[in-house]
């Protein structure tokens, strides 16, 4: 193995190496180097809706993968979304391995970088998408690079998949994610850590619905009694649906968008509401989805149509996931991290893989906060230990 060569343009460590390090010249995990890589990726704005921006990110990621001599495949995007990039270690053959799942799109429109510029203030480093999830995607890659620099291999083959549209629900990549997950023994998702570095071992399922009421229009002055208000019907349905929220059971419903009517003086013939439901487990999901799909109009003269389904299945903490967590806790302890897990309501691509029964750990990315906001940030101090944890996961998962 060649001794590691620092990529040109990367700043040198700001401390003097010790005599021991100088003499050993061994590759080491360098937070400054990691941050510089993250900076390069954050500088490429990649909102989901900009296929060009996402593809520029894919180009940058692909270049790094090729430099590591991984087998790289580019899967063309469609429906206005950017491409996907898939890479596989040259070792390990077809054996079921580790799928590292990342998305390189962000929720931030082009220009957000002008407001939330990349900058470091003490331990905090700001930037759009730095936390969700370019930071996490980068450390997983850096950890693999670290292994390769040392002339080592992971015990299992590693596949890295970068998707282009997670932030809108992975409409084009879901099939690829599921196909790769079925070939994998473990799935590690580089979504951000939360609440002090906790990882995610369960996520709620996400269901989406669109409900449309069709009433009967009438002039609200002269023929009010002939009208059947679609808005009134939807208002009642919304209270029913919102009433299904049960924090104890972990069920939440949200009527996020509503639109109805044509003019103030016409009893409205049409009204539509869009609904988001979060569901903790498969059984609850089945029950609540059925309840929403079976809603009946209060006014028999109003027609009600409900369309929708479970979009992301619940990601439940199975025995396989618990075992994987225990293994990760040991890896983390070696890196000085007391790794805790939690359950969250937000969906991710991990929902797809966990629902297939593949042990999945999520939230393995960097620690920070402010995902989806203009103060999005990571904690510099989390870079090195989280990377070490990744290195140990690659080295030990079998």
């Amino acid at each position: 193995m060649q001794p590691s060569v620092r990529p040109s343009g990367c700043p040198l460590p700001d401390r003097r190496p010790t005599m021991n390090e100088r003499s050993s010249n061994l590759p080491r995990i360098d937070a400054e180097e990691i941050l510089e890589g993250i900076r390069e990726w954050v500088a490429i704005e990649s909102p989901t809706s900009s296929a060009a921006g996402v593809n520029a990110m894919m180009d940058a990621a692909q270049e790094r993968l090729k430099a590591l001599n991984l087998g790289v495949e580019r899967i063309p995007g469609r429906d206005g979304y950017g491409d996907l990039v898939k890479a596989r270690t040259p070792w390990g053959g077809d054996e079921p391995g580790i799928l590292v799942l990342c998305h390189l799109d962000t929720v931030h429109p082009i220009g957000t970088l002008g407001r939330n510029s990349f900058r470091r203030e003490g331990d905090i480093v700001y930037g759009p998408g730095i936390y969700d999830m370019k930071g996490g995607a980068f450390i997983a890659l850096y950890a693999l690079q670290h292994l390769i620099r040392q002339g080592k291999e992971s015990r299992l083959p590693v596949t890295i998949l970068y998707v282009s549209e997670e932030e809108v629900g992975s409409p084009i990549s879901r099939a690829v994610i599921e196909a790769e997950a079925k070939k994998a023994k473990y799935v590690l998702v580089t979504e951000p850590a939360r609440e002090g570095g906790k990882i995610v071992t369960a996520r709620k399922g996400v269901a989406r619905f669109k409900m449309t009421a069709t009433g009967r229009p009438a002039h609200s002055g002269s023929r009010h009694q002939d009208g059947r208000s679609a808005i009134r019907e939807i208002a009642r349905q919304i209270l029913t649906i919102e009433g299904m929220t049960d924090y104890e059971r972990g069920v939440t419903t949200n009527c996020g968008m509503v639109s109805g009517g044509t003019a103030v003086n016409v009893v409205p013939a049409s009204c539509t509401v869009e609904i988001d439901a979060r569901l903790p487990d498969a059984e609850t999901a089945k029950e609540v989805v059925a309840a929403i799909l079976n809603l009946k109009p209060h006014d028999p003269d109003v027609e009600l149509v409900v369309e929708g389904e479970l979009n992301r299945p619940p990601f439940e903490k199975s025995e396989g996931i618990s075992a994987l967590l225990e293994h990760a806790r040991r890896c983390a302890a070696e890196a000085g991290i007391d790794l805790q897990d939690l359950k969250t309501g937000g969906g991710s691509d991990g929902n797809f893989t966990a629902a297939l029964g593949v042990p999945t750990l999520d939230g393995l990315g960097v620690d920070g906060k402010g995902g989806h906001t203009e103060y999005e940030q990571i904690y510099y101090s989390s870079l090195e230990p989280r990377t070490k944890m990744w290195v140990r996961l690659y080295e030990t998962l079998a």
């Binding site: 609200s220 208000s229 009134r232 208002a235 939440t252 968008m257 009517g261």
Partner: protein, 381 residues
């Protein structure tokens, strides 16, 4: 005896021919030039019978207001009769190709034929018939044709009120309804915009931190809709509603618009106060209500009742009943009635299907309704 048969008579065929001439000029409210083409046609006919006319130029894209004075107006002093009509229709250009002018039995179809070119023409025809007979009314008679009643008379309201205040009676030629009934009361109308402001949150990760503006709006909407009381004549309708930015965000904002119809001043005050003082159910959500009365209620005063009784006696002589009705839809009659001027509305032609592509009048109503107007002009004093 031959020359007695040659006396002018009220002729339904002649009336219909006149109405159709006006219907064939399509006049959507928002096309001022089109409305002015009809104003030209109406003005020509009035000038031909010796009326003095005046045009008040339109503004804001609407057509002109046309005022025509009966030839005898200079001789008879004092407050007179104002005959009120509008020249615009709700129908866009080209409607006449679908809603063709045609007669099927007693029904004659056409855009605006019922609301209200039929009534407009009856007014003119009544004047002409009197003049043909060498007669005149006891009072001065002023005809007022406005260009934009169907959008709420924004430019003509002041003129209607100014001319209305000079009048002793207002005869509004809006269509008869429910079998030829005239209108002696119309509800008032109030309009409100309600803006609801909650707290946004991600519906997955932070649902409990959110305060849904849409949920609060839904509750308020049900409260407002429940104020409808057909027994008292109060109706409320939330006609427009919007809110939210995405299915997965607890919505921060929601806005809806309310149309309220109120039978009298007392109910108007009570209901408007209730809506203006709506309080949020969720203490973390704020609501802001703007709006209020838009058109005052047109209430059946004793003077209006007396005017109706007078008209009913005249109708009986002609051989038709003349019941009155109260309606929720407003007209320019609301403005004059609210000024205290005895106003009788719905004196136009009978028919059905206003504002639809089935709009039609009843041919059989033309002769008796023309006679009724003529008798009103002859007898009111």
């Amino acid at each position: 005896m031959a020359d007695t048969s040659n006396e002018p008579k009220v002729d339904a065929e002649e009336i219909l021919t006149g109405i159709v001439r006006w219907v064939e000029i399509e006049t959507p409210s928002h096309d001022g030039a089109a409305v002015n083409r009809l104003a030209d046609a109406i003005e020509r006919e009035f000038i031909e019978v010796g009326a003095k006319t005046e045009r008040i130029p339109g503004r804001d894209g609407f057509g002109d207001v046309l005022i025509a004075q009966a030839p005898w107006n200079g001789e008879a002093d004092g407050p007179g009769i104002m005959v009120l009509g509008h020249m615009d229709t709700v129908h866009p250009h080209g409607t006449i190709r679908r809603l063709t002018v045609r007669r099927e039995g007693d029904k004659v179809f056409g855009p605006g034929i019922y609301d209200m070119k039929g009534g407009d023409y009856l007014g003119f025809y009544g004047l002409r018939h009197l003049l043909r007979q060498g007669k005149r009314a006891k009072l001065p008679v002023t005809f007022l044709f406005v260009p934009e009643e169907e959008v709420g008379s924004p430019t003509s309201r002041a003129i209607i009120e100014r001319e209305g205040l000079k009048a002793k009676y207002v005869l509004c030629m809006e269509p008869g309804r429910d079998g030829g009934k005239v209108v002696t009361g119309r509800k008032g109308c109030a309009r409100f915009v309600v803006k609801v402001h909650g707290e946004p949150a991600h519906s997955g990760a932070r649902h409990e931190d959110g305060r849904s503006a849409i949920r609060e709006a839904a509750r308020q909407i049900l409260d407002i809709e429940a104020m409808t009381d057909y027994a008292t004549g109060v109706t409320t309708s939330v006609g427009l509603w919007g809110g939210g930015t995405g299915a997965n965000v607890v919505p921060e904002f929601s806005t809806f618009e309310v149309d309220v119809r109120l039978p009298d001043a007392a109910s108007a005050e009570a209901v408007c106060a209730r809506i203006a003082n709506l309080k949020s159910h969720d203490p973390d959500v704020t609501i802001e209500v703007t709006g209020g009365m838009n058109r005052p209620a047109y209430e059946k005063t004793p003077a209006i009742a007396a005017l109706h009784e007078h008209a009913r006696r005249l109708a009986a002589e002609i051989g038709i009943p003349l019941d009155d009705t109260f309606t929720g839809g407003f007209s320019d009659g609301n403005f004059t009635a609210a000024l205290g001027i005895p106003t009788l509305d719905g004196l136009g032609v009978d028919g059905a299907g206003a504002h639809t592509e089935e709009e039609h009048l009843y041919y059989s109503s033309l002769e008796p309704r023309a006679k009724l107007l003529i008798r009103l002009l002859e007898t009111l004093e």
